[in-house]
C-alpha cells in the first residue's frame, strides 16, 4: 500500500460525504442546457395532443361537434367522453377516493375543464383544430364560495354522485359535501373553552394558489402494439405509483408498462397527480398505435392541474390570563373544487392538518374539517409543504399572534411559555402525533439573539410614535414564526397511496473496480438527489461520492418507491439508502476479514476501509474489497456486492425552525418591503449544508410569493382570474428579499443517519412569518386579522379602513 498514511481527516474529505458542501453534480448538465426533459423527447411518427376546454364554469353540454376539426388536414383524431366511455375511462379514480372527469361527460364543472382531446401531426395543427370543435352549452348557476356550496338551496354540482351519500371518508351531509373529518377530544376541548379566562376566535383564510414549476406538466405515451407494451415518459414526482395506476386503468399488465420520469423542471406538488392529459395521451397512443405527446401551457397549468390551499380555518385558542394555552379548536371548510383530487395519503382526507397544535404543549384539542365541492379546478396539493402542514402552521402561528395581542404579551414570550420542552420528546400531541425530537427554546433564543429582537421592538415603538406624530408614513412590522413540520410519509401502518404502503427504497451496486450505481424509488425535481444520496453512500461505504452514480425515475430499473413530495426523500429513501449501504458493509466486513485472514470480529470500520483492530497498518480498502467480491470470497459466499432496502419508517420526522422578518410598509401605496429575513432551520443531521441553504432560499422565495400576492381567484361568475404570469405573482430576483440562514442540529432519533426533511420547511415557516410581519405592523392600530395575500392594494385598503389616508 501507500508509504504515506493519509490522515483520517484527509481520507474523510476525499469522500465528500455527510456534511460536505459538495457542488451539485446534476447542475453541470442543467446549467449548460443539457438536461433531458419530456419535451426534449422526439420519437418517429409522434403526434401531438391538445385540449378543447370549457369556457363555462358550470354548464350542461348539449352537443359537441368535432367534424370541422376532423376535416382539418393533419388532424388524426378527436377524443370526447363518448369515446372514453366504452373503455370506462371518461372518469378516473382520484387519490382521495373520488372520481374525476377525464373528458367532461354531460356537464362541465369548472372553467377550462377538458372537453375534447385533439390529436394532430404537430402542435400548431392541434391548436388550430381545438378552435374548430364546436361545443354547445346550457349555462347553470355557479358556486365559487365554499360557504355558499353548503347552503340548503345551493345548485348540485356533482350529479354523477348525487345519490351516493356515503363518500370515501364517511357520510356526506349535502350533495356538495365531500367528507367530515374529526380528530381529538371534542367534549374535553369544549369544556375547557367554556370556562377559559381568555379565548380567541378568528377565521383565517388561506387563499387558493398554485405551484408553478418552470416546466409544466407533460408526457409522451408510446404504445408498442406488437409487444403489447406501453411506455410513458412524463413529469412524474411519483413514477412507480403512476405505473401502477396506468396498469390498473388500462388493463395492461404492470410489467408491460414502462414509466420513465426524465429530468423534471420543478414539481412542488403539481406533478404528483394523474391528469386528463396523461390519460388522453395514453388512450390516443393505444388507439392510434403511435407515440402521442401532450404538453400543458402556462395558463392550462395555472388554471387546471392541481391548485393548492383554499382552506377556510376558524381557529380558536383558550388560555389563562398569564398566557398558558389550555386548548385549541379548529373548524376548516376545505374547498376542493369540482372533484376531490387532493393528493394525500389515502386515509388522510385533510392531510396532516392535525399537526395544527404546532410547536406548543396544548393539552387538549379538536379539529374538524369539512370538504366541499365548488365550480373551480380540483386539486388541493401540498405545494412545497407536507400534506396541509402549511395551512396548519399558518393557523396556529396567526392564532398565537392574536392571542398575544389580546393578552398584551410579547408573542415570543407567549411562544416560549408554551413550547414543548426538550425533555418532553418524544412528545405525544393532543391530536395524535409523536414528535420525534426537538429543542425549541434553544432555537428560538438563538434566532432572537441573531436578529437583536429587543432592539427591533424598541425601534418599532419609536417608529409608531413618529407615525402617530405624522413624521413618517412607514410602518414597521416584525414577523415571528416558529414551526414544526411533519415530513417523511410515512409509516405503512397509517400511510398508503391507493393501498400501497408509503415506504421507499434504494438499490446499491458496487462494481468490481469500486464505483457504484445506486437507484431509488424517489424522483428529484431539482432537490439535488444525485448529489446528496451519493454523499450518504460515500460516508456509509467509504467510496468517494464522485464515484457514485445515482439514478431515479426509470421504473424498469429503480426499485419501487412512492416518489418525492412532502419532504419524504431524505427521511424515507435516504434511510433506505443508508440501510442498503449497511447491508453491503456487513458483507464487506466478512470479505475483509477473509482477505486479512482474521475473524470478522477482529476487523473494524475506518472511514473507507476495514482494518484489523489494534493494527491500523493492516487493512483492506472498500475498493479492494469490491474487487475481491468478484473473485476472492470466503468459501460459500455469494459473489457480488450489492443490496436493496425497502424502508418502512417507524415514524415521521419533525423538522422545526424559528423565523424572523422585518418589514417596512408604506401606508400611502400599501407597498411592503422586507428589510431583513432570518431563517433558522433544524433538520437534524445536515447532509449537504449548501443544498440545504439552497432549498431554504427557494422555499422562502415561494413563501414570500404566496404571502405577498400569489393567488388564483375566481370572479362571482366562476371565471378564473390571474392564471398567467402577467398577474400570477412569481417574484424575480429584484423583489425577492435577501435571505439569512442559520441552523441548530437535533438529530432524528429513529432515522439511520438522524436526518429530517428540509425542502418544505422554509415555505411552511415563511408564509406565517411574512403574514405576521404585515399584521404586526398594523396591530398597534387595532386592525384585527389582516388576511393574505398581502398585495399592495389590499394593504392600502387596510390603511384606508383605519383612516390613515384622511
Amino acid at each position: 500500500m501507500n508509504d504515506m498514511t493519509p490522515t483520517q481527516a484527509e481520507r474523510t474529505g476525499k469522500l465528500e460525504g455527510l456534511g460536505c458542501r459538495r457542488k451539485r453534480t446534476e447542475d453541470i448538465r442543467f446549467t449548460q442546457g443539457r438536461g433531458n426533459y419530456v419535451d426534449d423527447l422526439k420519437l418517429p411518427g409522434m403526434l401531438f395532443g391538445d385540449f378543447v376546454r370549457s369556457s363555462h364554469p358550470h354548464a350542461r353540454i348539449k352537443s359537441i361537434d368535432t367534424s370541422k376539426a376532423l376535416a382539418l388536414p393533419g388532424v388524426k383524431a378527436v377524443l370526447t367522453a363518448a369515446d372514453l366511455k366504452p373503455l370506462k375511462l371518461h372518469y378516473m379514480p382520484t387519490l382521495a377516493g373520488d372520481v374525476a372527469a377525464v373528458l367532461a361527460d354531460d356537464k362541465v364543472l369548472f372553467q377550462n375543464q377538458e372537453i375534447a382531446f385533439v390529436v394532430a401531426e404537430d402542435r400548431y395543427i392541434a391548436a388550430d383544430a381545438t378552435e374548430l370543435v364546436e361545443v354547445e352549452y346550457e349555462a347553470l348557476p355557479v358556486v365559487v364560495d365554499p360557504f355558499q356550496a353548503m347552503a340548503p338551496d345551493a345548485p348540485v354540482l356533482r350529479e354523477d354522485i348525487k345519490d351516493k351519500m356515503d363518500g370515501a371518508h364517511g357520510p356526506r351531509k349535502h350533495p356538495n359535501h365531500i367528507f367530515n373529518w374529526q380528530v381529538g377530544d371534542k367534549q374535553g376541548t369544549d369544556a375547557v373553552f367554556d370556562t377559559a379566562e381568555v379565548t380567541t376566535k378568528d377565521l383565517f383564510v388561506y387563499h387558493r394558489t398554485h405551484p408553478s414549476p418552470l416546466e409544466t406538466c407533460q408526457c409522451v405515451a408510446s404504445m408498442d402494439k406488437i409487444k403489447g407494451e406501453l411506455t410513458v415518459w412524463g413529469t412524474f414526482q411519483a413514477p412507480h405509483v403512476i405505473r401502477t395506476v396506468v396498469s390498473i386503468l388500462s388493463g395492461i399488465a404492470e410489467h408491460k408498462v414502462h414509466v420513465i420520469a426524465p429530468d423534471i423542471g420543478g414539481g412542488f406538488g403539481n406533478k404528483v397527480g394523474v391528469y386528463p392529459g396523461y390519460v388522453c395521451a395514453i388512450v390516443a397512443s393505444i388507439v392510434l398505435g403511435v407515440p402521442v405527446k401532450w404538453v400543458e401551457d402556462r395558463m392550462e397549468n395555472l388554471s387546471t392541474t392541481s391548485f393548492a390551499r383554499d382552506y377556510h380555518m376558524t381557529t380558536e385558542l383558550a388560555a389563562t390570563k398569564d398566557g398558558k394555552i389550555l386548548a385549541m379548536r379548529i373548524h376548516v371548510l376545505a374547498d376542493h373544487g369540482a372533484f376531490d383530487a387532493c393528493a394525500d395519503p389515502s386515509r388522510w382526507p385533510a392531510g396532516f392538518m392535525n399537526i395544527c397544535t404546532g410547536s406548543y404543549d396544548i393539552p387538549v384539542a379538536h379539529l374538524e374539517v369539512d370538504g366541499v365541492y365548488t365550480n373551480k379546478a380540483s386539486g388541493g396539493v401540498a405545494y412545497r409543504c407536507s400534506f396541509r402542514v402549511t395551512e396548519a402552521v399558518y393557523s396556529i402561528e396567526r392564532a398565537i399572534e392574536v392571542l398575544a395581542h389580546k393578552l398584551g404579551m410579547d408573542s415570543v414570550d407567549l411562544r416560549m411559555k408554551n413550547f414543548i420542552k426538550a425533555e418532553q420528546f418524544p412528545y405525544h400531541s393532543a391530536l395524535g402525533w409523536e414528535y420525534d425530537s426537538g429543542n425549541y427554546h434553544v432555537a428560538m433564543q438563538k434566532a432572537m439573539d441573531a436578529v437583536g429582537y429587543p432592539a427591533l421592538r424598541a425601534e418599532q415603538k419609536t417608529r409608531q410614535e413618529a407615525f402617530r406624530r405624522g413624521e413618517t408614513r412607514q410602518l414597521l412590522g416584525i414577523g415571528v414564526s416558529f414551526f414544526t413540520e411533519i415530513v417523511g410519509a410515512g409509516p405503512s401502518r397509517n400511510c398508503d397511496i391507493l393501498g400501497v404502503g408509503m415506504f421507499d427504497s434504494a438499490e446499491i451496486r458496487i462494481h468490481p473496480t469500486g464505483s457504484i450505481v445506486a437507484r431509488m424509488g424517489t424522483k428529484s425535481q431539482g432537490q439535488g438527489h444525485e448529489t446528496t444520496y451519493a454523499q450518504i453512500i460515500a460516508t456509509e461505504l467509504g467510496i468517494p461520492a464522485d464515484d457514485i452514480t445515482v439514478e431515479e425515475g426509470n421504473t424498469d430499473t429503480a426499485p419501487y418507491g412512492l416518489g418525492t413530495y412532502g419532504s419524504r426523500s431524505t427521511p424515507v429513501a435516504g434511510a433506505a439508502t443508508a440501510m442498503a449501504a449497511r447491508k453491503i458493509r456487513a458483507k464487506a466486513q466478512m470479505i475483509a476479514a477473509h482477505l486479512l485472514e482474521v475473524s470478522e470480529y477482529d476487523v473494524e470500520w475506518d472511514i473507507d476501509r476495514f482494518k484489523v483492530k489494534g493494527l491500523p497498518e493492516k487493512f483492506k480498502t472498500m475498493k479492494e474489497i469490491a474487487w475481491a467480491a468478484y473473485n476472492n470470497l470466503p468459501p460459500g459466499m455469494e459473489p457480488g456486492l450489492e443490496a436493496v432496502n425497502y424502508y418502512d419508517p417507524p415514524n415521521m420526522t419533525y423538522p422545526f425552525g424559528a423565523y424572523f422578518c422585518v418589514m417596512d410598509i408604506d401606508v400611502d401605496t400599501g407597498v411592503a418591503k422586507t428589510r431583513r429575513f432570518y431563517a433558522l432551520d433544524d433538520c437534524g443531521t445536515r447532509i449537504n449544508p449548501m443544498i440545504i441553504e439552497g432549498q431554504v432560499h427557494g422555499g422562502l422565495t415561494e413563501a414570500f410569493a404566496v404571502a405577498m400576492g400569489q393567488e388564483i381567484t375566481y370572479d362571482a361568475q366562476g371565471n378564473v382570474m390571474g392564471a398567467s404570469f402577467m398577474d400570477f405573482f412569481l417574484p424575480t430576483a429584484v423583489e425577492t428579499p435577501k435571505w439569512e440562514t442559520d441552523f441548530t442540529v437535533t438529530p432524528s432519533p429513529h432515522h439511520p443517519i438522524g436526518a429530517k426533511g428540509v425542502g418544505e420547511s422554509p415555505h411552511v415557516g415563511g408564509v406565517p412569518c411574512f403574514s405576521n410581519a404585515v399584521n404586526d405592523a398594523f396591530a398597534f392600530l387595532e386592525a384585527g386579522h389582516i388576511p393574505m395575500p398581502h398585495h399592495a392594494w389590499r394593504l392600502w385598503k387596510v390603511a384606508d379602513g383605519l383612516g390613515l389616508h384622511a
Partner: protein, 288 residues
C-alpha cells in the same frame, strides 16, 4: 400559447412596407420588437394573417438632434434610448422611463415606435410623449403627416394611425435646460405594467413654477395628458397645497379598470400619489 398561422414579410424600405400594408389590407400588421404583438398572437387575442417586419427597413433607427427638437427613429430600441448620451443630456426623462419598462430582455428588442403605436394604455412611453408634446410622423401611401401624441390616443388599442400607415419617427421638443423631470411608476414587480404612473416635467424660476406638464399611464383606456393638474402648479412654489391640488386634479380625469393590480379606487389614488411623488422629485431636480 400557439399563434394561428401567418405570412412573414420583410421589406427593405418604408415605401415597400407601406405598399405591402396597402396591398394586404386589414389583415396585415407591422412588426417591430414583437414584445406586445407576439404575446397577443400567442394567446390568440389577435390573429393577423400577415406580419410586416420593419427590422430590415433602412432609416427607421437612430436618435438625432435638430434645432429645438430631438428626433427618434421608430425602430430605436428602449435599450438604445436608455443608453444615449444625447438623450441623457437633453431628455433625461426618457432614460428614466425606459429603464422602468419590462426587463433587459424586453428593452433589447422592444422599440419606441412599437411602444407608442401599440395603443395599450399600459405602455409607459405614450404618457411621457404626451407630457413632452411629441409629434409622431406617419407615412402612408398618400404621403406623410404629423400627429401630436396628445391627439393620437382614441381608446384602448385605438389610435389615430390609419391601417396603411407606418410610424417612422417621433419628434420631441427639447424642454428648457435645467428643467425638472420624473417618471414615477408603481408596479407589482419587475416586468409589470404600471398600477399607475406619472410623468412630470417642470421649470422653476425664482422659486416659482413657470412651466409644467403631466402625463398619466394606465389609469384610463388611453394614456392621459393631465392639463389641469399641471396648470395647478404654475405660479406656485410647489408647496404642499399646490401639489395636493395637482394630484386631486389628476385623480379626477382617471377612469381605471379594476384588475389584478387593484380596484379602480386604488389605482385612481395611486395616480394621485405618483403625481405627488413625481412633482416632488422633479422639483428637487429643477434648477432655479
Amino acid at each position: 400559447m400557439i399563434p394561428s398561422g401567418f405570412e412573414y414579410h420583410r421589406p427593405n424600405s418604408v415605401q415597400e412596407a407601406v405598399a405591402l400594408l396597402a396591398q394586404l389590407g386589414e389583415e396585415a400588421r407591422p412588426l417591430a420588437g414583437g414584445h406586445s404583438l407576439i404575446p397577443v398572437m400567442k394567446t390568440r387575442l389577435s390573429a393577423p394573417e400577415h406580419l410586416i417586419d420593419l427590422a430590415g427597413v433602412s432609416g427607421l433607427k437612430g436618435i438625432r438632434q435638430e434645432p429645438g427638437h430631438i428626433v427618434i427613429g421608430a425602430m430605436t430600441t428602449q435599450y438604445e434610448i436608455s443608453g444615449s448620451p444625447l438623450l441623457a443630456e437633453t431628455l433625461p426623462i426618457l432614460r428614466e422611463t425606459s429603464l422602468q419598462i419590462g426587463d433587459p430582455q424586453i428593452r433589447y428588442l422592444g422599440t419606441l415606435g412599437g411602444n407608442v403605436a401599440n395603443g395599450d394604455p399600459g405602455n409607459d412611453m405614450p404618457a411621457v410623449m404626451m407630457c413632452l408634446d411629441a409629434e409622431y410622423q406617419l407615412v402612408g401611401q398618400s404621403g406623410q403627416r404629423g400627429v401630436r401624441a396628445r391627439d393620437f390616443y382614441l381608446g384602448a388599442y385605438d389610435t389615430a394611425r390609419q391601417n396603411g400607415e407606418i410610424l417612422t419617427e417621433i419628434r420631441i421638443p427639447v424642454p428648457p435646460r435645467g428643467h425638472g423631470y420624473a417618471y414615477e411608476k408603481l408596479k407589482r414587480k419587475v416586468g409589470d405594467y404600471a398600477v399607475a404612473a406619472a410623468a412630470v416635467i417642470l421649470t422653476m424660476t425664482n422659486g416659482k413654477c413657470t412651466m409644467a406638464s403631466i402625463g398619466l399611464t394606465n389609469v384610463a383606456d388611453t394614456p392621459l395628458w393631465a392639463e389641469a393638474a399641471a396648470q395647478a402648479l404654475i405660479g406656485t412654489g410647489l408647496d404642499h397645497a399646490a401639489i395636493a391640488n395637482a394630484a386631486a386634479a389628476a385623480e379626477t380625469i382617471t377612469d381605471p379598470a379594476a384588475d389584478g393590480r387593484g380596484p379602480a379606487e386604488y389605482r385612481t389614488k395611486m395616480a394621485g400619489m405618483m403625481v405627488r411623488r413625481a412633482i416632488a422629485r422633479a422639483k428637487s431636480r429643477a434648477q432655479n
